[in-house]
């Protein structure tokens, strides 16, 4: 009978059980907070890569990473790499694939709470440099031989005061794609436009042929960032100029510094974008290109192959540098950028973390990376001759391996500028509420606000500008 099996608990028993449970939970929490998030051993020695040999086997390290979102196949490669690393060293890497929106903030928040992962995926430039200034990342040259770091070409934006804080992983530079079939239908040649006048002429003809000249989605913001990277850079002589704009040493209200926003306005008013640009996100905007509806689109290198695949063949797609309108030394140059990894300054197992990063870059792993995801590895050990896809081959020669390539200057903007100026300006222009000049005024005001709110970071930025201008 159910009644006979019922355990009777009076109030006193209940309170006893509840008290014991709470005590157990409290003690457990206390124990956890007294210990480190990962098993600890002797204090970390951060002087030489050889120190890895001193670390006891069987350590567990936390790693937060990102990438599967833009390059399907990376997660499989990562899991395989972790399994092989464990087989080789006995150390376990516990990976967490992060959401795009929290890649930066989660690491900084965890670091502030002294609970950072040992290894962290890092976007380039300011997206990890603020963590450097806050002391959350360690320089890598004390853990990994400098020639190995340089062999992954993490780009100049990964260095501060001469020290590298990031290892390169795979290429993720912004570029533009064009659809050769649409160009042909519009009566255009196979070559993409190279100047602004040519671009306007091409857009006009593509529109007349019944296609969207340029597809884009602006609702979530990154398209505005990409365009700024392509456009603002054209009127700068070096990345240091961009930093000087962001800290107010140069003035956004000068026409050449807001010209790129005026160009967006010009394109929009001419009807050269998809009409729903302000109400769709970045990727749906790009997918209009893959669906064969648009002549051109802005993209990043890891996504190029998937767009070509949507169109049926890489032969139908070409890569292009954004047409020139500016007069700076960076005008007309391809942009090179990459994803990367760094090591938390709070890690108790920095040497093992470094060992894992080095393992990721062993030639066999680099080959496997290429095979698993078709991203272009940044490692000098990668043999580009094995790239048979014509589009990826063009990207390798024109962007990744091009010594003329320049850094992606949008990676230098403070986050406040991202949220209050870049994000706002491009959307207001597309909504018809602002001109390029008004966008420049807003950029100026946001810069002033950022300087007032972050007086302690201005000095760091200034130093970074010196580094990059040198």
């Amino acid at each position: 009978m159910a009644d006979q099996k019922t355990i009777r608990i009076n109030r006193r028993d209940f309170l006893k059980i509840a008290g014991l449970s709470l005590s157990a939970a409290g003690v457990s929490t206390l124990l956890q907070s007294c210990g480190s998030p990962t098993p600890t051993t002797a204090p970390a020695v951060t002087t030489a890569p050889e120190a890895t040999k001193a670390a006891p086997a069987g350590q567990t390290l936390k790693m937060w990473w990102w990438g599967e979102q833009e390059a399907p196949g990376l997660e499989k490669w990562m899991n395989e790499t972790i399994a092989r690393f464990k087989e080789k060293t006995g150390h376990l890497i516990e990976p967490t694939l992060q959401d795009t929106t929290v890649v930066i903030s989660e690491f900084q928040t965890a670091s502030a709470a002294k609970n950072a992962p040992d290894l962290q995926f890092l976007w380039n430039g300011i997206y990890h440099m603020e963590s450097v200034w806050l002391g959350y990342l360690d320089p890598l040259d004390s853990l990994i031989p400098i020639d190995e770091i340089q062999a992954t070409n993490p780009t100049r934006l990964s260095y501060f005061e001469g020290k590298p804080y990031r290892m390169g992983w795979y290429s993720a530079g912004p570029m533009w794609l064009y659809n050769k079939e649409i160009f042909e239908k519009a009566g255009l040649g196979e070559e993409p436009p190279k100047t602004w006048d040519e671009l306007m002429d091409f857009c006009d003809k593509i529109k007349s042929a019944g296609f969207i000249p340029i597809s884009a989605g602006l609702k979530d913001g990154p398209w505005g960032e990409w365009f700024m990277g392509h456009g603002l850079g054209q009127n700068l002589d070096s990345p240091a100029d961009a930093i000087n704009l962001f800290i107010g040493s140069l003035d956004w209200r000068e026409p050449r510094y807001y010209e790129h926003w005026s160009r967006v306005e010009e394109l929009w008013k001419a009807g050269f974008f998809n009409d729903d640009m302000n109400s769709i996100d970045l990727y749906p905007g790009i997918d209009l290109f893959g669906a064969g509806k648009a002549g051109m689109t802005a993209i990043v290198t890891p996504l190029a192959a998937s767009q070509a695949k949507m169109l049926g063949s890489s032969e139908k797609v070409g890569g292009m540098v954004f047409p020139v309108f500016g007069k700076g030394k960076m005008a007309g140059k391809p942009i090179a950028d990459c994803q990367g990894f760094g090591i938390s300054s709070q890690s108790k197992n920095k040497e093992i973390a470094a060992e894992f990063i080095r393992f990721m870059h062993e030639p066999e792993r680099v080959e496997a990376l290429w095979e698993a995801s078709n991203v272009l590895p940044m490692d000098s050990s990668f043999d580009p001759n094995q790239i048979t896809d014509p589009l990826l081959n063009q990207i390798w020669k024109g962007w990744v391996g091009n010594p003329e390539a320049v850094p992606y200057i949008s990676n230098l903007m403070p986050v406040l500028f991202w949220t209050d100026a870049m994000f706002v300006n491009s959307q207001k222009i597309i909504a018809g509420e602002w001109t390029g000049e008004q966008a420049g005024q807003n950029a100026y005001e946001v810069t002033q606000k950022w300087v007032e709110q972050n007086p302690d970071l201005v000095e760091k930025y200034s130093q970074w500008a010196k580094d990059l201008g040198a």
Binding site: Q108, S279, K428, Q453
Partner: protein
């Protein structure tokens, strides 16, 4: 008669009071402390009221406050819709149980799901506009979430669509416990539907209405982040930025928790100020009811 020491009840209360002080008091003190510092990581130098000065001179903050206040328009709309639908269901129209469940379904859905679905439906070339165009109503096919002039109202409509379900269930539950003889008597006296609603039903719903209004005001001031983030992300061009998103941007994106804390403190005080008259009104009503 059982006699206890005067201090005994307080001793019994003490653990719970301590728990409340810790869980509610500590965060408030921490926020007040953070709001006077330039926090980097978990601490930073004392800068007095500088964070507050920064906030009050920030045009984006002003916009955020304005948008929260505009969203308060949704409160009376939700209240009226909820009461009318609850009364209609209460009158046992055919299939009322089905409609009750149907109207409550939106409230069961997770807000991010609602946000993502509506952000697709409301695109310029989304389902809603496709239907409008197919009906020959092209001029009503607006850029619902791409036009800064109307996006906040589009988000407000989504909030109303989802939150009304809670009101309906709340009012229906209260209606089912009221004295139906009063309604029958009003009918006998010749009162029409509107008169019965206004003079008989609504007075009996008074306490629930107050509760719903308070909850809805709090929702509009401090509980709309998920809608905004998933539908418009504060855009286009800050057209839908609200205080919560402003706090989020400073706390987690700009890494300036000091400013975020200052806004949180302001939001807390403003909410209290708005709530105070309502609680006072409630207290007066309770006194009246007690005679």
């Amino acid at each position: 008669m059982l006699r206890t020491n005067r201090i005994t009840p307080y001793l019994y209360l003490a653990p719970m009071v301590l728990l409340l002080v810790f869980t509610f008091g500590y965060p408030l003190v921490a926020i007040a402390n953070f709001s006077t510092r330039r926090i980097r990581g978990i601490s930073g130098p004392f800068i007095g009221l500088e964070n507050y000065r920064q906030i009050f001179k920030d045009e984006v903050f002003r916009q955020a406050v304005e948008h929260n206040l505009i969203l308060l328009i949704a409160v009376p709309i939700m209240l009226i819709i909820s009461i009318i639908l609850a009364v209609v269901l209460f009158e046992r129209i055919r299939g009322w149980q089905f409609f009750r469940s149907l109207l409550f379904v939106p409230y069961v859905l997770a807000i991010p799901v609602v946000g993502v679905v509506f952000s697709n439906i409301l695109q310029l070339n989304g389902v809603q506009n496709q239907i409008l165009r197919s009906l020959g109503l092209e001029r009503f096919a607006l850029d619902w979430i791409g036009n800064p002039q109307i996006t906040l109202y589009s988000v407000m409509a989504v909030i109303i669509w989802r939150e009304v379900g809670f009101g309906i269930v709340l009012f229906l539950a209260r209606l089912q416990s009221i004295n139906e003889e009063l309604i029958d008597a009003a009918k006998v006296d010749g009162a029409d539907w509107g008169q019965r609603l206004w003079f008989v039903i609504i007075p009996q719903l008074r306490s629930v209405i107050e509760f719903y209004v308070v909850i809805s005001i709090i929702t509009m001031l401090a509980w709309v982040f998920s809608y905004i983030y998933t539908i418009s992300r504060g855009g286009p061009g800050n057209a839908t930025i609200v205080m919560e998103l402003y706090i989020y941007n400073f706390a987690f994106r700009n890494q300036l928790p000091g400013i975020a804390s200052a806004v949180a403190a302001i939001l807390f005080v403003v909410t209290l100020i708005l709530m105070f008259p309502l609680f006072r009104f409630r207290s007066e009503t309770a006194m009246e009811e007690m005679g």
